[in-house]
Amino acid sequence: MTTIVTDNCQRCRFTDCVTVCPVACFHYDDEMLYIDPDVCIDCSACIPECPVQAIYEGDDIPADKEHWITINAERAPTLPVCDEKMDPLPGAEERKTELGF
């Protein structure tokens, strides 16, 4: 079972998800957030928090997003932890509208 952040997070990085993560498993770079699969406990608290539905878990990961499993696993451990809400990236609201939310 894995929970992963996927492409809708790019150019948004709202970070609403981190406020409800019980184990602080989100990591960040300039683009987006990533989940460390070794720390994540698959509790699903983050999934409904994302304003752009960027997070998927286990059986619900669509085939065209499966490559994000590796990206999250590889990127997260190399990046700093994000455990506090940060300001979204510039243009996040526009991106959210673009995505239909």
């Binding site: 079972m1 406020t19 409800v20 993560c21 019980p22 184990v23 602080a24 406990i41 698959d42 509790c43 699903s44 608290a45 983050c46 999934i47 409904p48 539905q53 878990e57 286990g58 059986d59 619900d60 239909g100 939310f101």
Partner: protein
């Protein structure tokens, strides 16, 4: 006088309750950067609240949250005092003497009642006690559950109802390598239950399960999930609810119910029936539960705001076991006001209030603050919010230096209270893990307080 929150005058905080909300409050206080000393009181010798005693034994991964709490507990600002009961061993007035502020994170120990005749018949149980029992909570160790009936009814369609149903549906093989309490496993091995009915007051589009929990009913070794296709016909408002792009969880839940309705039963020994738009109106039997009377409900109202009410038509179901699982409920704390309607400590943004007026120095977080909603991580944001309020209040708190943990220990020793330190908990913890190894279980829990104290005395 030194400013409060500096090394010369550290902020002494007492936290009552050692579940997730208590630990997230601790974490937020430490991250504040102020000089702070935290004394966490817990009435059991073992910490971690519902993560230890509530999360189901077959959901071990969720219990890994404890690793974070363990790490927080290593902070030199943190001190744990187990086996100390607020109200009995130490009062709010005592803590006002020793600490600058007190945060109540003691959760919701009791349960909401159905309020129907026969609710207290033998055979009618609460999810709260059943969950506590199979998780080895000392308060429920000696409860008896008569599982020698074929039909069990669970009232409620949230994740706790899912846990109760799933544990009843699982085989011994599916449970024997979890940390389920041994006495519970022994009793479940004798279970004669064949039909489990999980009853929702509203419709399939409103069920409160999270998708992951509901999906598990399709993956059980010896139990088929049953949903009648005709029960999935939705009213217009429910259809609108499911078309809302933001309503992802309910869409997934409905899709799962649909899949279950299309699966032919595979001849397994047990069946778990998901039933909707029903409310129990009476329990009856000769000295013990023998039948449940249900009333059919109709939904009315706007999408996302529909309510259920009885439509008159009733029927009876024979059942020897009923669990109500319609919400945990907080209990009043000695010396504090209580919001009886909601079952919480009256508060605004986590500051305790009495008839609307803020009580200085008293705070709350978690289920006793906002009611029994959300999952483990929900409490993190909630505790952070309470600590933000507390930190904003620091300039207004009585800034006289306090004795904090030292003063508290002095009090407890004087009252002959056998408090348990975190190091002592770790000894109990290690012994549980050791005992579990022999049986291929993550741990074998001690289920009596005196068993735990024997390890450390």
């Amino acid at each position: 006088m030194s400013q409060l929150g500096t090394t010369d005058n550290p902020l002494h905080i007492a936290i009552i309750g050692s579940g997730p909300s208590g630990f997230y409050a601790t974490e937020a206080l430490i991250k504040s950067g102020l000089a702070v000393k935290i004394d966490m009181l817990e009435r059991l010798p073992a910490p971690f609240g519902l993560v230890r005693n509530g999360v189901a034994p077959d959901h071990q991964k969720l219990k890994q949250a404890i690793q974070l709490y363990d790490k927080i507990a290593e902070a030199e600002q943190f001190n744990f005092l187990g086996n100390v009961t607020f109200g009995r061993d130490v009062t709010v007035d005592d803590l006002r003497e020793t600490h600058h502020a007190v945060i109540f994170t003691c959760g919701a120990e009791s349960d909401r009642k159905l309020g129907v005749p026969g609710e207290d018949l033998s055979g009618s149980y609460t999810a709260t006690e059943f969950v506590g029992w199979y998780n080895g909570h000392p308060d429920y160790r000696d409860r008896e559950f008569d599982l020698s009936h074929e039909v069990a009814v669970i009232i409620g369609q949230g994740n706790v109802a899912a846990d109760v149903s799933r544990i009843l549906a699982k085989t011994v093989d599916e449970l024997k390598h979890t940390d389920i309490a041994q006495h519970a496993l022994d009793r479940l091995a004798e279970s004669k239950i064949r039909e489990i009915h999980v009853i929702g007051r509203r419709g399939p589009a409103q069920a409160k399960f999270t998708p992951k929990e509901l999906r598990e009913f399709g993956e059980l070794a010896d139990c088929d999930p049953i949903v009648k296709p005709e029960d999935l016909v939705l009213n217009a408002a429910s259809q609108t609810e499911l078309e809302d792009k933001a309503n992802v969880a309910n869409q997934k839940i409905f899709q799962l119910f649909k899949e279950f309705s299309e699966r032919p039963p595979s001849g397994k020994n047990r069946r778990c029936h998901f039933r909707f738009l029903l409310s129990p109106v009476a329990l009856a039997g000769d000295g013990k539960l023998q039948k449940v009377t249900f009333e059919k409900n109709v939904l009315s109202g706007e999408p996302m705001n529909q309510s259920a009410r009885g439509a008159g038509e009733k029927f009876e179901m024979e059942a020897g076991i009923l669990f109500r699982s319609i919400g945990y409920r907080g209990v009043p704390l000695p010396g504090l006001p209580f919001d009886d309607k909601r079952g919480v400590l009256p508060n605004t943004d986590g500051r305790l209030t009495d008839n609307g007026a803020v009580i200085p120095g008293l705070y709350t977080a978690g289920w006793i603050k906002r009611g029994p909603t959300g999952i483990i991580g929900t409490n993190r944001a909630d505790s952070v919010a309470t600590i933000e309020a507390l930190l904003a209040d620091v300039p207004k708190l009585d800034n006289q230096p306090k004795t904090g943990g030292q003063g508290l220990l002095h009090l407890l020793k004087g009252r002959n209270v056998r408090y348990v330190t975190y190091q002592e908990w770790k000894k109990i913890d290690a012994r549980e893990i050791e005992l579990g190894k022999a049986k291929g279980k993550p741990r074998e829990k001690f289920t009596y307080v005196n068993e735990m104290l024997e390890i450390i005395n």
